[in-house]
Symmetry: C2
Subunit: 248 residues, 2 copies
Amino acid sequence: MPVTKSEIKFIRQLQQKKYRKQHHAFVVEGWKSIRDFIKAGYNLQKIYTIRELEGIPVNVTIKIINRNQLKQLSFLQHPKDALAVFEMKQTAPLPDSGLILALDDLQDPGNLGTIIRTADWFGVRHIVCSENTVDCYNPKVVQATMGALANVAVNYTDLAGFLQKTKCPVFGTFLSGDNIYQSTLPQDAIILIGNEGNGIKPEIGKLTTHRIHIPQASGAIAESLNASIATAVVLNEFYRRFNNLHHD
Amino acid sequence: MPVTKSEIKFIRQLQQKKYRKQHHAFVVEGWKSIRDFIKAGYNLQKIYTIRELEGIPVNVTIKIINRNQLKQLSFLQHPKDALAVFEMKQTAPLPDSGLILALDDLQDPGNLGTIIRTADWFGVRHIVCSENTVDCYNPKVVQATMGALANVAVNYTDLAGFLQKTKCPVFGTFLSGDNIYQSTLPQDAIILIGNEGNGIKPEIGKLTTHRIHIPQASGAIAESLNASIATAVVLNEFYRRFNNLHHD
Protein backbone atom coordinates (compact mmCIF):
# COMPACT_ATOMS: atom_id res chain seq x y z
CA MET A 1 0.00 0.00 0.00
CA PRO A 2 1.56 3.36 -0.93
CA VAL A 3 2.42 5.91 1.72
CA THR A 4 1.10 9.31 0.68
CA LYS A 5 3.04 12.57 0.80
CA SER A 6 0.62 13.96 3.34
CA GLU A 7 1.18 10.96 5.58
CA ILE A 8 4.96 11.46 5.43
CA LYS A 9 4.48 15.16 6.14
CA PHE A 10 2.19 14.47 9.10
CA ILE A 11 4.59 11.94 10.69
CA ARG A 12 7.56 14.28 10.16
CA GLN A 13 5.65 17.10 11.85
CA LEU A 14 5.28 14.95 14.94
CA GLN A 15 9.02 15.29 15.54
CA GLN A 16 8.24 18.84 16.66
CA LYS A 17 6.57 19.67 19.93
CA LYS A 18 4.29 22.36 18.51
CA TYR A 19 2.75 19.91 16.01
CA ARG A 20 2.45 17.15 18.62
CA LYS A 21 0.55 19.62 20.77
CA GLN A 22 -1.58 20.78 17.84
CA HIS A 23 -2.49 17.22 16.78
CA HIS A 24 -2.48 15.85 20.33
CA ALA A 25 -0.52 12.90 18.92
CA PHE A 26 2.91 11.27 19.08
CA VAL A 27 4.86 8.49 17.38
CA VAL A 28 6.02 5.17 18.84
CA GLU A 29 8.31 2.84 16.87
CA GLY A 30 8.72 -0.91 17.25
CA TRP A 31 5.97 -3.44 17.91
CA LYS A 32 7.16 -4.25 21.44
CA SER A 33 6.79 -0.63 22.55
CA ILE A 34 3.60 -0.10 20.53
CA ARG A 35 2.03 -3.06 22.34
CA ASP A 36 3.02 -1.53 25.71
CA PHE A 37 1.16 1.68 24.83
CA ILE A 38 -1.92 -0.24 23.64
CA LYS A 39 -1.93 -2.27 26.88
CA ALA A 40 -1.60 0.92 28.91
CA GLY A 41 -4.81 2.24 27.35
CA TYR A 42 -3.36 4.76 24.92
CA ASN A 43 -5.57 5.41 21.92
CA LEU A 44 -3.93 4.04 18.76
CA GLN A 45 -4.76 6.20 15.74
CA LYS A 46 -2.87 4.47 12.96
CA ILE A 47 -0.19 1.86 12.50
CA TYR A 48 2.29 1.27 9.69
CA THR A 49 3.85 -2.18 9.73
CA ILE A 50 6.03 -4.38 7.55
CA ARG A 51 4.38 -7.56 8.85
CA GLU A 52 1.01 -8.87 10.06
CA LEU A 53 0.48 -8.05 13.76
CA GLU A 54 -1.84 -9.59 16.29
CA GLY A 55 -3.50 -7.65 19.07
CA ILE A 56 -4.35 -4.42 17.30
CA PRO A 57 -7.68 -2.96 18.47
CA VAL A 58 -10.49 -3.05 15.93
CA ASN A 59 -11.27 0.16 14.02
CA VAL A 60 -7.59 1.09 13.85
CA THR A 61 -6.21 1.76 10.37
CA ILE A 62 -3.44 -0.75 9.68
CA LYS A 63 -1.22 -0.06 6.71
CA ILE A 64 1.07 -2.87 5.58
CA ILE A 65 4.10 -1.29 3.95
CA ASN A 66 7.55 -2.39 2.84
CA ARG A 67 10.89 -1.63 4.47
CA ASN A 68 11.69 1.28 2.11
CA GLN A 69 8.38 2.95 2.87
CA LEU A 70 8.98 2.50 6.60
CA LYS A 71 12.37 4.12 6.12
CA GLN A 72 10.63 7.20 4.68
CA LEU A 73 8.47 7.51 7.78
CA SER A 74 10.84 6.46 10.54
CA PHE A 75 12.89 8.81 12.73
CA LEU A 76 15.41 6.03 13.36
CA GLN A 77 18.61 5.29 11.52
CA HIS A 78 17.68 1.60 11.68
CA PRO A 79 13.85 1.48 11.54
CA LYS A 80 12.12 -1.30 13.46
CA ASP A 81 9.16 -3.38 12.30
CA ALA A 82 6.35 -0.88 12.82
CA LEU A 83 5.52 2.77 13.48
CA ALA A 84 2.37 3.93 15.24
CA VAL A 85 0.61 7.22 15.87
CA PHE A 86 -0.99 7.44 19.31
CA GLU A 87 -3.24 10.03 20.85
CA MET A 88 -1.77 11.75 23.90
CA LYS A 89 -3.47 10.86 27.15
CA GLN A 90 -5.18 13.41 29.38
CA THR A 91 -2.60 14.63 31.89
CA ALA A 92 -2.86 12.79 35.21
CA PRO A 93 -3.51 14.87 38.36
CA LEU A 94 -0.39 15.91 40.27
CA PRO A 95 0.67 13.13 42.65
CA ASP A 96 0.67 13.59 46.44
CA SER A 97 2.04 10.28 47.72
CA GLY A 98 4.38 7.45 46.76
CA LEU A 99 7.82 7.91 45.27
CA ILE A 100 7.77 10.86 42.88
CA LEU A 101 10.56 12.11 40.62
CA ALA A 102 10.80 15.86 40.06
CA LEU A 103 12.98 17.09 37.17
CA ASP A 104 14.36 20.62 37.11
CA ASP A 105 14.96 21.59 33.45
CA LEU A 106 16.34 18.27 32.16
CA GLN A 107 17.42 18.98 28.57
CA ASP A 108 18.79 15.80 27.03
CA PRO A 109 16.14 13.53 25.43
CA GLY A 110 18.30 10.44 26.00
CA ASN A 111 18.61 11.29 29.68
CA LEU A 112 14.87 11.83 30.13
CA GLY A 113 14.08 8.59 28.28
CA THR A 114 16.55 6.63 30.38
CA ILE A 115 15.18 8.21 33.55
CA ILE A 116 11.61 7.19 32.65
CA ARG A 117 12.80 3.62 31.88
CA THR A 118 14.65 3.47 35.21
CA ALA A 119 11.75 5.02 37.14
CA ASP A 120 9.41 2.34 35.79
CA TRP A 121 11.89 -0.38 36.84
CA PHE A 122 11.95 0.88 40.43
CA GLY A 123 8.20 1.35 40.67
CA VAL A 124 7.97 5.14 40.28
CA ARG A 125 4.64 5.91 38.60
CA HIS A 126 4.81 9.73 38.59
CA ILE A 127 7.33 12.21 37.25
CA VAL A 128 6.76 15.95 37.66
CA CYS A 129 8.80 18.13 35.29
CA SER A 130 9.51 21.86 35.21
CA GLU A 131 8.01 23.56 32.17
CA ASN A 132 11.48 23.82 30.58
CA THR A 133 12.18 20.09 30.74
CA VAL A 134 12.38 18.35 27.35
CA ASP A 135 9.01 17.01 26.15
CA CYS A 136 8.40 13.35 27.08
CA TYR A 137 6.72 12.74 23.70
CA ASN A 138 9.89 13.80 21.84
CA PRO A 139 10.64 10.75 19.62
CA LYS A 140 14.12 10.34 21.13
CA VAL A 141 12.65 10.28 24.61
CA VAL A 142 9.94 7.78 23.64
CA GLN A 143 12.59 5.56 22.02
CA ALA A 144 14.90 5.63 25.04
CA THR A 145 12.08 4.69 27.43
CA MET A 146 11.76 1.31 25.65
CA GLY A 147 8.00 1.39 26.21
CA ALA A 148 8.20 2.45 29.86
CA LEU A 149 6.62 5.85 29.09
CA ALA A 150 3.33 3.92 28.75
CA ASN A 151 3.61 3.01 32.43
CA VAL A 152 4.68 6.33 33.98
CA ALA A 153 2.58 9.52 34.25
CA VAL A 154 4.56 12.63 33.34
CA ASN A 155 3.33 16.11 34.34
CA TYR A 156 4.71 19.45 33.21
CA THR A 157 4.04 22.19 35.68
CA ASP A 158 5.42 25.11 37.69
CA LEU A 159 7.89 23.02 39.68
CA ALA A 160 8.46 25.59 42.42
CA GLY A 161 4.71 25.87 42.97
CA PHE A 162 4.35 22.08 43.16
CA LEU A 163 7.20 21.75 45.67
CA GLN A 164 5.80 24.58 47.79
CA LYS A 165 2.40 22.93 48.04
CA THR A 166 3.37 19.28 48.53
CA LYS A 167 3.26 17.59 51.93
CA CYS A 168 5.90 15.03 50.85
CA PRO A 169 9.52 15.46 51.93
CA VAL A 170 11.70 16.71 49.06
CA PHE A 171 15.11 15.04 48.61
CA GLY A 172 17.76 16.74 46.50
CA THR A 173 21.33 15.58 45.75
CA PHE A 174 24.03 18.10 46.66
CA LEU A 175 27.80 17.74 47.10
CA SER A 176 27.30 19.00 50.65
CA GLY A 177 24.41 16.62 51.42
CA ASP A 178 24.25 13.71 53.87
CA ASN A 179 25.62 10.32 52.85
CA ILE A 180 22.64 8.62 51.19
CA TYR A 181 23.80 5.20 52.45
CA GLN A 182 23.21 6.35 56.03
CA SER A 183 20.04 8.35 55.42
CA THR A 184 16.51 7.32 56.29
CA LEU A 185 14.57 7.19 53.05
CA PRO A 186 10.77 7.12 53.34
CA GLN A 187 8.28 5.49 50.98
CA ASP A 188 6.50 8.78 50.28
CA ALA A 189 9.02 11.23 48.91
CA ILE A 190 9.88 13.55 46.06
CA ILE A 191 13.33 13.02 44.53
CA LEU A 192 14.56 16.18 42.85
CA ILE A 193 17.01 15.90 39.91
CA GLY A 194 18.72 18.93 38.40
CA ASN A 195 19.72 20.03 34.90
CA GLU A 196 22.70 18.22 33.28
CA GLY A 197 25.00 21.22 33.27
CA ASN A 198 23.78 23.43 36.08
CA GLY A 199 22.27 21.03 38.60
CA ILE A 200 19.32 22.13 40.72
CA LYS A 201 18.46 25.85 40.42
CA PRO A 202 18.92 27.76 43.72
CA GLU A 203 15.26 28.82 43.88
CA ILE A 204 14.23 25.17 43.48
CA GLY A 205 17.01 23.86 45.71
CA LYS A 206 15.82 25.92 48.69
CA LEU A 207 12.54 23.99 48.56
CA THR A 208 14.27 20.70 49.39
CA THR A 209 13.71 19.38 52.90
CA HIS A 210 16.52 16.77 52.78
CA ARG A 211 19.93 17.24 51.16
CA ILE A 212 21.61 13.95 50.26
CA HIS A 213 24.87 12.99 48.58
CA ILE A 214 26.07 9.90 46.71
CA PRO A 215 29.49 9.09 48.23
CA GLN A 216 32.46 9.31 45.87
CA ALA A 217 35.58 7.14 46.04
CA SER A 218 38.76 8.91 47.05
CA GLY A 219 40.93 9.76 44.05
CA ALA A 220 37.98 10.13 41.68
CA ILE A 221 38.16 13.13 39.37
CA ALA A 222 34.58 13.23 38.10
CA GLU A 223 32.84 16.24 39.68
CA SER A 224 29.40 14.81 39.24
CA LEU A 225 27.46 11.87 37.91
CA ASN A 226 25.37 11.97 34.73
CA ALA A 227 21.78 13.03 35.61
CA SER A 228 20.25 9.67 34.68
CA ILE A 229 22.96 7.79 36.61
CA ALA A 230 22.40 9.89 39.73
CA THR A 231 18.65 9.26 39.41
CA ALA A 232 19.22 5.51 39.16
CA VAL A 233 21.51 5.38 42.19
CA VAL A 234 19.09 7.41 44.32
CA LEU A 235 16.05 5.40 43.16
CA ASN A 236 17.93 2.18 43.86
CA GLU A 237 18.65 3.34 47.41
CA PHE A 238 15.00 4.21 48.04
CA TYR A 239 13.83 0.98 46.45
CA ARG A 240 16.29 -1.21 48.36
CA ARG A 241 15.04 0.13 51.68
CA PHE A 242 11.47 -0.69 50.67
CA ASN A 243 12.43 -4.05 49.16
CA ASN A 244 14.36 -5.11 52.24
CA LEU A 245 11.34 -4.36 54.43
CA HIS A 246 9.56 -7.15 52.66
CA HIS A 247 12.39 -9.66 52.42
CA ASP A 248 14.49 -9.42 55.56
CA MET B 1 46.80 32.65 14.20
CA PRO B 2 45.32 30.86 11.17
CA VAL B 3 44.38 27.21 11.31
CA THR B 4 45.80 25.41 8.27
CA LYS B 5 43.92 23.00 6.05
CA SER B 6 46.25 20.20 7.04
CA GLU B 7 45.51 20.85 10.72
CA ILE B 8 41.77 20.66 10.07
CA LYS B 9 42.28 17.46 8.08
CA PHE B 10 44.41 15.91 10.82
CA ILE B 11 41.89 16.69 13.58
CA ARG B 12 39.00 15.42 11.46
CA GLN B 13 40.86 12.15 10.86
CA LEU B 14 41.05 11.60 14.60
CA GLN B 15 37.30 11.02 14.61
CA GLN B 16 38.09 7.65 13.05
CA LYS B 17 39.61 4.75 14.96
CA LYS B 18 42.02 3.75 12.18
CA TYR B 19 43.64 7.19 12.11
CA ARG B 20 43.75 7.43 15.91
CA LYS B 21 45.59 4.11 15.87
CA GLN B 22 47.89 5.24 13.07
CA HIS B 23 48.77 8.54 14.75
CA HIS B 24 48.56 7.11 18.27
CA ALA B 25 46.62 10.27 19.18
CA PHE B 26 43.17 11.41 20.24
CA VAL B 27 41.22 14.63 20.81
CA VAL B 28 39.95 16.09 24.08
CA GLU B 29 37.70 19.17 24.14
CA GLY B 30 37.20 21.66 26.96
CA TRP B 31 39.87 22.99 29.30
CA LYS B 32 38.50 21.20 32.37
CA SER B 33 38.88 17.78 30.71
CA ILE B 34 42.18 18.72 29.04
CA ARG B 35 43.61 19.60 32.45
CA ASP B 36 42.50 16.22 33.81
CA PHE B 37 44.45 14.44 31.06
CA ILE B 38 47.55 16.59 31.66
CA LYS B 39 47.37 15.86 35.41
CA ALA B 40 47.00 12.15 34.69
CA GLY B 41 50.30 12.20 32.81
CA TYR B 42 49.02 12.05 29.25
CA ASN B 43 51.38 13.58 26.72
CA LEU B 44 49.87 16.77 25.28
CA GLN B 45 50.87 17.26 21.64
CA LYS B 46 49.08 20.44 20.71
CA ILE B 47 46.38 22.71 22.03
CA TYR B 48 44.02 25.12 20.28
CA THR B 49 42.39 27.62 22.60
CA ILE B 50 40.28 30.75 22.41
CA ARG B 51 41.81 32.16 25.63
CA GLU B 52 45.08 32.21 27.57
CA LEU B 53 45.47 29.09 29.69
CA GLU B 54 47.64 28.42 32.70
CA GLY B 55 49.21 25.08 33.49
CA ILE B 56 50.18 23.92 30.02
CA PRO B 57 53.48 22.00 30.00
CA VAL B 58 56.44 23.78 28.37
CA ASN B 59 57.38 22.73 24.82
CA VAL B 60 53.72 22.23 23.89
CA THR B 61 52.49 24.14 20.83
CA ILE B 62 49.71 26.47 21.92
CA LYS B 63 47.65 28.06 19.20
CA ILE B 64 45.36 30.91 20.20
CA ILE B 65 42.46 30.93 17.79
CA ASN B 66 39.04 32.56 17.56
CA ARG B 67 35.64 30.96 18.07
CA ASN B 68 35.01 30.48 14.34
CA GLN B 69 38.31 28.68 13.90
CA LEU B 70 37.52 26.46 16.88
CA LYS B 71 34.18 25.69 15.27
CA GLN B 72 36.05 24.40 12.19
CA LEU B 73 38.06 22.00 14.34
CA SER B 74 35.55 20.92 16.95
CA PHE B 75 33.45 17.74 16.83
CA LEU B 76 30.84 19.36 19.07
CA GLN B 77 27.71 21.22 18.08
CA HIS B 78 28.56 23.78 20.76
CA PRO B 79 32.39 23.92 20.93
CA LYS B 80 33.96 24.59 24.31
CA ASP B 81 36.96 26.85 25.04
CA ALA B 82 39.79 24.62 23.82
CA LEU B 83 40.64 21.50 21.84
CA ALA B 84 43.73 19.39 22.49
CA VAL B 85 45.52 16.51 20.78
CA PHE B 86 46.96 13.96 23.20
CA GLU B 87 49.19 10.99 22.66
CA MET B 88 47.61 7.66 23.66
CA LYS B 89 49.13 6.05 26.70
CA GLN B 90 50.79 2.66 26.65
CA THR B 91 48.14 0.09 27.54
CA ALA B 92 48.19 -0.83 31.23
CA PRO B 93 48.73 -4.49 32.15
CA LEU B 94 45.54 -6.50 32.69
CA PRO B 95 44.32 -6.07 36.28
CA ASP B 96 44.14 -8.99 38.72
CA SER B 97 42.66 -7.42 41.84
CA GLY B 98 40.33 -4.65 42.97
CA LEU B 99 36.98 -3.90 41.43
CA ILE B 100 37.18 -4.44 37.66
CA LEU B 101 34.52 -3.76 35.03
CA ALA B 102 34.37 -6.13 32.05
CA LEU B 103 32.36 -5.01 29.00
CA ASP B 104 31.05 -7.52 26.49
CA ASP B 105 30.63 -5.72 23.13
CA LEU B 106 29.26 -2.40 24.37
CA GLN B 107 28.37 -0.45 21.22
CA ASP B 108 27.03 2.94 22.21
CA PRO B 109 29.70 5.65 22.71
CA GLY B 110 27.46 7.56 25.12
CA ASN B 111 26.99 4.44 27.23
CA LEU B 112 30.72 3.67 27.36
CA GLY B 113 31.54 7.27 28.26
CA THR B 114 28.93 7.34 31.00
CA ILE B 115 30.17 3.98 32.30
CA ILE B 116 33.76 5.29 32.52
CA ARG B 117 32.56 8.43 34.33
CA THR B 118 30.54 6.31 36.77
CA ALA B 119 33.37 3.81 37.27
CA ASP B 120 35.72 6.65 38.21
CA TRP B 121 33.16 7.98 40.71
CA PHE B 122 32.93 4.61 42.49
CA GLY B 123 36.69 4.03 42.51
CA VAL B 124 37.01 1.52 39.66
CA ARG B 125 40.42 2.03 38.05
CA HIS B 126 40.32 -0.75 35.42
CA ILE B 127 37.92 -1.60 32.64
CA VAL B 128 38.52 -4.63 30.43
CA CYS B 129 36.64 -4.57 27.10
CA SER B 130 36.01 -7.23 24.47
CA GLU B 131 37.68 -6.41 21.15
CA ASN B 132 34.29 -5.45 19.66
CA THR B 133 33.52 -2.84 22.29
CA VAL B 134 33.45 0.75 21.00
CA ASP B 135 36.85 2.51 21.20
CA CYS B 136 37.35 4.53 24.39
CA TYR B 137 39.18 7.25 22.41
CA ASN B 138 36.11 7.80 20.20
CA PRO B 139 35.40 11.56 20.63
CA LYS B 140 31.83 10.90 21.83
CA VAL B 141 33.16 8.53 24.49
CA VAL B 142 35.86 10.97 25.61
CA GLN B 143 33.24 13.74 25.83
CA ALA B 144 30.79 11.68 27.87
CA THR B 145 33.49 10.68 30.39
CA MET B 146 33.84 14.37 31.40
CA GLY B 147 37.56 13.84 31.93
CA ALA B 148 37.21 10.58 33.88
CA LEU B 149 38.89 8.59 31.07
CA ALA B 150 42.15 10.18 32.27
CA ASN B 151 41.67 8.34 35.56
CA VAL B 152 40.61 4.88 34.39
CA ALA B 153 42.75 2.33 32.51
CA VAL B 154 40.88 0.69 29.62
CA ASN B 155 42.12 -2.54 28.04
CA TYR B 156 40.85 -4.19 24.87
CA THR B 157 41.46 -7.91 24.83
CA ASP B 158 40.03 -11.37 24.25
CA LEU B 159 37.43 -11.14 27.02
CA ALA B 160 36.77 -14.89 27.24
CA GLY B 161 40.50 -15.54 27.64
CA PHE B 162 40.78 -12.89 30.36
CA LEU B 163 37.81 -14.30 32.30
CA GLN B 164 39.15 -17.85 31.99
CA LYS B 165 42.51 -16.89 33.45
CA THR B 166 41.45 -14.52 36.25
CA LYS B 167 41.36 -15.61 39.88
CA CYS B 168 38.74 -12.96 40.72
CA PRO B 169 35.08 -13.92 41.04
CA VAL B 170 33.05 -12.85 38.00
CA PHE B 171 29.64 -11.26 38.66
CA GLY B 172 27.13 -11.02 35.85
CA THR B 173 23.59 -9.61 35.90
CA PHE B 174 20.89 -12.00 34.73
CA LEU B 175 17.10 -11.97 35.10
CA SER B 176 17.44 -15.32 36.88
CA GLY B 177 20.25 -14.16 39.19
CA ASP B 178 20.23 -13.72 42.98
CA ASN B 179 18.85 -10.50 44.48
CA ILE B 180 21.88 -8.19 44.57
CA TYR B 181 20.59 -6.51 47.76
CA GLN B 182 21.03 -9.80 49.61
CA SER B 183 24.27 -10.92 47.97
CA THR B 184 27.73 -10.83 49.48
CA LEU B 185 29.84 -8.56 47.28
CA PRO B 186 33.63 -8.77 47.72
CA GLN B 187 36.19 -6.02 47.22
CA ASP B 188 38.06 -7.98 44.54
CA ALA B 189 35.65 -8.80 41.75
CA ILE B 190 34.96 -8.52 38.06
CA ILE B 191 31.59 -7.03 37.14
CA LEU B 192 30.49 -8.17 33.70
CA ILE B 193 28.18 -5.94 31.62
CA GLY B 194 26.59 -7.10 28.38
CA ASN B 195 25.79 -5.50 25.04
CA GLU B 196 22.88 -3.00 24.92
CA GLY B 197 20.62 -5.15 22.77
CA ASN B 198 21.74 -8.71 23.38
CA GLY B 199 23.08 -8.71 26.92
CA ILE B 200 25.94 -11.01 27.87
CA LYS B 201 26.89 -13.52 25.13
CA PRO B 202 26.30 -17.18 26.23
CA GLU B 203 29.98 -18.13 25.81
CA ILE B 204 30.95 -15.19 28.05
CA GLY B 205 28.05 -15.70 30.45
CA LYS B 206 29.13 -19.25 31.26
CA LEU B 207 32.39 -17.83 32.64
CA THR B 208 30.54 -15.95 35.40
CA THR B 209 30.91 -17.39 38.91
CA HIS B 210 28.06 -15.34 40.46
CA ARG B 211 24.75 -14.50 38.81
CA ILE B 212 23.05 -11.47 40.31
CA HIS B 213 19.86 -9.56 39.59
CA ILE B 214 18.69 -6.00 40.26
CA PRO B 215 15.20 -6.38 41.74
CA GLN B 216 12.35 -4.87 39.74
CA ALA B 217 9.20 -3.35 41.18
CA SER B 218 5.99 -5.27 40.55
CA GLY B 219 3.99 -3.82 37.69
CA ALA B 220 7.05 -2.53 35.84
CA ILE B 221 7.03 -3.13 32.10
CA ALA B 222 10.67 -2.41 31.27
CA GLU B 223 12.38 -5.74 30.46
CA SER B 224 15.83 -4.46 31.28
CA LEU B 225 17.77 -1.42 32.40
CA ASN B 226 20.02 0.63 30.12
CA ALA B 227 23.57 -0.81 30.21
CA SER B 228 25.08 2.25 31.89
CA ILE B 229 22.25 2.37 34.45
CA ALA B 230 22.69 -1.32 35.33
CA THR B 231 26.45 -0.71 35.70
CA ALA B 232 25.82 2.22 38.06
CA VAL B 233 23.38 0.29 40.25
CA VAL B 234 25.75 -2.69 40.55
CA LEU B 235 28.80 -0.49 41.21
CA ASN B 236 26.83 1.44 43.82
CA GLU B 237 25.96 -1.82 45.59
CA PHE B 238 29.60 -2.96 45.63
CA TYR B 239 30.77 0.48 46.72
CA ARG B 240 28.18 0.82 49.48
CA ARG B 241 29.28 -2.46 51.09
CA PHE B 242 32.89 -1.24 51.07
CA ASN B 243 31.95 2.28 52.18
CA ASN B 244 29.84 1.01 55.10
CA LEU B 245 32.77 -1.08 56.33
CA HIS B 246 34.60 2.16 56.99
CA HIS B 247 31.74 4.24 58.38
CA ASP B 248 29.48 1.98 60.41
